[in-house]
C-alpha cells in the first residue's frame, strides 16, 4: 500500500546538520554588529570597510566577470537602513521615496524600507484630465540608466476597476536630449496594488530605460512627461522637467568583461542581436539595476539604436560577492533591455537589468569615469542628428516562426478538459469547489476559448497529462500549438507563453548554452490585429472579448494561429518519474491591448508528456 504517510516517514530522516547552528548564530551576531556600526555608533574607517564588505560587497563577482578595480567603500557615507526606517517614522517621506518603496514592496511581497532620498523629486499640480479621468504626475526617481515615475489616476465619474483596465488612462514619458529620445518601456498600476482606488486614486508607475550608452544626466537631458488619456484621445504634454536629481553617484566601472551576459539573456541563440559578442567591459551598478556596456566597435551604420526588452520576470539574476568573506547577495533581475547604439560608424552594445528589489550600492566609490567622458563628447556631436529607433522582437532560434494556418487546417480540435484526466469539464464542483457564480461564469467563457486550442506533438494531439510520446528518429519532438480565436480576439495582440515546469507561473525560457541541459521555449507575441481602417483596437478589454465570443470556426473571420517548434530531446533535461522520463510545461494564452501590457491569461494548457 502506498500512502502519503510514507512521504512523512521518509522526510523524518532528513535531518538538519547541527553544525549549522553555531555558524548561523555567529553570522547573525556579526550582522548585528555591522548594523550597529552603520548606525554610526562605532567610529573607524577600517572597521567600517570590513563590515561593509561583509554586507554586500567590497568587490563584485558577477556571472563570469570579476571586477578588480573597485575602490574600497567610503565609510563616512555609511548609513543604516534601520536608522532610515526609524527616521521614516518621524518624518514624512518624499513622495518619490514612498512610491518607490511601494513599487518594490508590491513586486516582492515584502516591505521595502530602502531610502531613496536624493535620488528623485516630487511634483506639485502637474496633471491633465478630461471629463472621465484625472492623471497627475506625482514624482520621479532613478539614475542615469533607468527612471521610475509615479502618477495617480482618479476616476471622475466613479468608474470601476474594470473600466480603469479597459480605458487604461495613463501617463507616458519620454526623455529628450542630445538628439536622442528614450521612450517609455512600461506603465500601469503599481505591482500588487489593490483594485480599488487608494485615497480616491489608483497609484501607477512608469519606467523609462536608457536605450543608449549615454547617461541621462550627463548629456544634459530634459525629462519630458506626456499625459495621454486614450479614451478621450487627449495627448497633452504636461511638463518638461530637468533630471537635476540624477548625478554621477553611480558611475561606470571597468571590468574584465562579462562575456556571457548575452548568453544569459538570450539563451539558446548562440549569438546576440549583432551576431557578435563583444565583451561587456564597463558597467554601472545603481540601487535600481545594473547596466553593461561593450567597448566601442566599428559599425557600418551612421545612426541607429536598436533594442528589445527581455521581459518581466526574466530568468537572470546577478550575484554580488563580498571580497572580504565571500558572502553573496543575489539580486533577481525583474526586467531589462538589451541592444546596441551606433553613431557615425561606432557602436556600443548595452544591456540594462532592473533589480527586483533595491541594492544598497552607495558605498562604492568609482574607479574611473571612462564612459561618462565619452558619452558627453558624443552627445555634442549629435545635437542635430535624427536618431532612428527600432524596437525589435527577439528572433527565435529553431525557426519557430508563427504563421497563419492554411485554410484547410481544421479549427475545432480541443475541448475544455480536465488537464489531469482528459475528461470534459461539466462542472466545477471537483477542482474548484469554492467557485463563486462570477468566477464560474468567467470560467465557462474561458472554457469556450480553450475548446479552440490544441497541442500537436509529432502530429498527434495531446489531450491531458501523462500521455506517452516518442521522439522521431532524430530524437526530436515536433510541437505545434494552434489556436483559433474569432474576430473579437483577433483585434488584440495575442500571445502564447510557453512555460516549462509549472513551478511559479513565471514565463521563463529554457535554452541551450554550452552543453547545459535546457529546453528552448520563449514567449512569442503574435501580430497586432488592429482594424486597418479605424486604427482602433477593439474590443479594448478582455471581459468584453469574452462576452462577445461566439466561436464559429467556419467563419471567414476565424484566424487560426499556429506556432511550431522543435525540441531536441538530447538537449533537454527531462524529469525522472516512477513511470519514466517526463517533459512538463504550461501554455498560457493571453490577450493584450496596444499598450503592450499583458492582460489576464485567457486560458492555460498544462501538459506532462511521458517520453518513451
Amino acid at each position: 500500500m502506498k500512502q502519503i504517510q510514507q512521504y512523512c516517514s521518509a522526510m523524518d530522516k532528513i535531518k538538519h546538520d547541527p553544525a549549522c547552528k553555531q555558524e548561523v548564530l555567529n553570522m547573525a551576531q556579526r550582522n548585528q554588529i555591522h548594523m550597529t556600526k552603520r548606525s554610526g555608533k562605532i567610529a573607524g574607517t577600517a572597521i567600517a570597510a570590513a563590515l561593509l564588505a561583509a554586507n554586500i560587497g567590497g568587490g563584485y563577482l558577477l556571472l563570469h566577470g570579476r571586477n578588480q578595480a573597485l575602490n574600497p567603500p567610503v565609510a563616512t557615507e555609511i548609513e543604516s537602513e534601520i536608522d532610515l526606517a526609524s527616521a521614516a517614522e518621524t518624518a514624512a517621506l518624499p513622495c518619490y521615496v514612498s512610491r518607490m518603496q511601494e513599487y518594490y514592496a508590491g513586486l516582492t511581497g515584502e516591505p521595502c524600507d530602502f531610502d531613496f532620498t536624493g535620488l528623485g523629486r516630487d511634483f506639485e499640480n502637474v496633471s491633465a484630465e478630461d471629463e472621465n479621468w484625472r492623471v497627475e504626475l506625482k514624482a520621479v526617481t532613478g539614475c542615469d540608466w533607468i527612471l521610475y515615475y509615479f502618477y495617480d489616476v482618479t476616476p471622475l465619474q466613479g468608474q470601476s476597476w474594470e473600466q480603469f483596465q479597459q480605458e487604461h488612462p495613463r501617463m507616458e514619458a519620454e526623455v529628450f536630449g542630445g538628439g536622442r529620445t528614450d521612450h517609455l518601456e512600461r506603465c500601469g498600476i503599481m505591482p500588487g496594488a489593490e483594485h480599488n482606488p487608494e485615497d480616491g486614486a489608483w497609484h501607477c508607475y512608469g519606467r523609462v530605460f536608457n536605450s543608449s550608452a549615454q547617461p541621462f544626466f550627463h548629456a544634459d537631458k530634459t525629462f519630458c512627461l506626456r499625459a495621454q488619456i486614450s479614451t478621450a484621445e487627449l495627448d497633452t504634454e504636461v511638463t518638461r522637467e530637468p533630471l537635476d536629481f540624477v548625478s554621477a553617484e553611480f558611475p561606470l566601472e571597468e571590468s574584465d568583461g562579462f562575456n556571457n551576459i548575452f548568453e544569459a539573456i538570450y539563451i539558446g541563440q548562440g549569438a546576440n542581436m549583432l551576431g557578435m559578442d563583444p565583451a561587456m567591459t564597463r558597467y554601472a551598478v545603481t540601487p535600481f539595476g545594473m547596466n553593461f556596456f561593450s567597448d566601442p566597435y566599428e559599425s557600418g551604420k551612421r545612426d541607429s539604436n536598436t533594442y528589445t526588452d527581455f521581459g518581466e520576470q526574466s530568468f537572470m539574476d546577478i550575484t554580488f560577492t563580498s571580497a572580504d568573506d565571500g558572502s553573496e547577495t543575489r539580486m533577481a533581475v525583474y526586467d531589462g533591455i538589451i541592444g546596441y547604439h551606433e553613431e557615425e560608424g561606432t557602436g556600443i552594445q548595452y544591456s540594462f537589468a532592473a533589480f527586483e528589489r533595491p541594492l544598497d550600492v552607495t558605498k562604492f566609490a568609482p574607479e574611473n569615469d571612462v564612459l561618462t567622458a565619452e558619452a558627453a563628447a558624443t552627445a555634442d556631436d549629435v545635437q542635430t542628428t535624427e536618431t532612428q529607433t527600432i524596437t525589435e522582437v527577439p528572433v527565435q532560434d529553431y525557426e519557430a516562426i508563427p504563421r497563419k494556418a492554411p485554410a484547410d487546417v481544421p479549427c475545432v480540435v480541443y475541448g475544455a478538459r480536465d488537464s489531469l484526466t482528459g475528461e470534459p469539464f461539466d462542472s466545477l464542483t471537483g477542482p474548484y469547489p469554492d467557485t463563486t457564480p462570477e468566477e464560474y461564469a468567467q470560467f465557462e467563457q474561458v472554457a469556450v476559448y480553450s475548446r479552440y486550442a490544441k497541442l500537436l506533438v509529432n502530429g498527434r494531439e495531446m489531450k491531458g497529462i501523462g500521455e506517452e510520446i516518442s521522439p522521431d528518429e532524430n530524437n526530436m519532438l515536433n510541437i505545434t500549438f494552434a489556436w483559433t480565436p474569432d474576430e473579437n480576439v483577433k483585434n488584440q495582440n495575442i500571445s502564447i507563453d510557453i512555460l516549462p515546469e509549472p513551478v511559479f507561473d513565471d514565463p521563463i525560457a529554457y535554452g541551450k548554452s554550452e552543453g547545459e541541459n535546457i529546453v528552448i521555449i520563449e514567449p512569442y507575441k503574435f501580430k497586432d490585429y488592429v482594424d486597418p481602417e479605424t486604427n482602433v483596437v477593439y474590443p479594448s478589454s478582455l471581459p468584453e472579448a469574452i462576452a462577445a465570443f461566439k466561436p464559429d470556426p467556419a467563419a471567414e473571420n476565424c484566424v487560426p494561429m499556429r506556432y511550431s517548434m522543435q525540441i531536441d530531446l538530447s538537449k533537454v533535461n527531462l524529469q525522472e518519474s516512477p513511470r519514466g522520463k517526463q517533459l512538463t510545461f504550461l501554455v498560457d494564452y493571453h490577450a493584450a491591448d496596444t499598450s503592450g501590457s499583458k492582460k489576464d491569461v485567457i486560458f492555460r494548457g498544462e501538459y506532462i508528456l511521458m517520453i518513451k
Binding site: Q3, Q6, Y7, I14, E23, N31, Q32, F315, A332
Partner: protein, 163 residues
C-alpha cells in the same frame, strides 16, 4: 536567538529541502532564513505569527533560488543517501519529489507540517481556493504517478502531528 533557531530549524530545513531536493541548498536557505529573522528587527504578536513569517520567508527564498540563473542551469542531483523502509516508501517519496515545486510545497505543508488550508494560504500568500486547487492537483498527480493503490488519506499519526 538560540531558542528561536532550535524551535524552527528542522521545519525550515525540511521545507527548504522539499523545494530544493538537496541538502546543500536547503542548508544555505535555512541559514539565510534565520539570518533574516535575527536581523529584521521584527517583533511578533504571537508565536504563530512568528512561525508563519519564518515559513513564508523560507518559501520566498526558495522561490528566489529556483528562479535563479544558477539553479536553472545547474539542476541539483537529489540526495541518494536516504534509506527507505520499503519499496513503497521509496516510490511515494520520489513521486512527491518529482512533483512541480509548488505542488511539492503544498503537499509538504499540509501532510508533513500539518498546516490547514487556511494556514497554508496565509503562509504562502495565496487564496484558500488556490491552495485547495493545488492540493487537488497534487493528489491527482500523485495518483497518476503511483496508481490507484495510492492513498492520501491521513491517519492518526498525521492528525497527531497536526495537533
Amino acid at each position: 536567538m538560540e531558542q528561536i533557531y532550535d524551535k524552527h530549524h528542522e521545519s525550515v530545513y525540511r521545507l527548504a529541502y522539499a523545494y530544493t531536493k538537496n541538502r546543500a541548498d536547503a542548508e544555505d536557505l535555512t541559514s539565510e532564513v534565520f539570518l533574516r529573522r535575527f536581523t529584521c528587527g521584527k517583533t511578533f504578536d504571537s508565536e504563530s505569527h512568528e512561525t508563519a513569517w519564518i515559513m513564508r520567508v523560507t518559501i520566498n527564498l526558495a522561490k528566489d533560488l529556483l528562479r535563479s540563473f544558477r539553479y536553472r542551469f545547474t539542476v541539483p542531483l537529489e540526495d541518494a543517501d536516504l534509506v527507505f523502509e520499503s519499496p513503497e516508501e521509496s516510490e511515494v517519496w520520489h513521486a512527491v519529489m518529482n512533483l512541480p515545486a509548488k505542488y511539492r510545497s503544498v503537499i509538504h505543508l499540509y501532510y508533513y507540517e500539518g498546516y490547514s488550508v487556511a494556514e497554508i494560504a496565509k503562509i504562502s500568500g495565496k487564496s484558500e481556493t488556490a491552495v485547495q486547487t493545488q492540493l487537488y492537483r497534487a493528489r491527482k498527480l500523485l495518483k497518476n504517478a503511483l496508481g490507484e493503490e495510492f492513498s492520501h488519506e491521513t491517519n492518526s499519526a498525521i492528525l497527531q502531528r497536526n495537533g
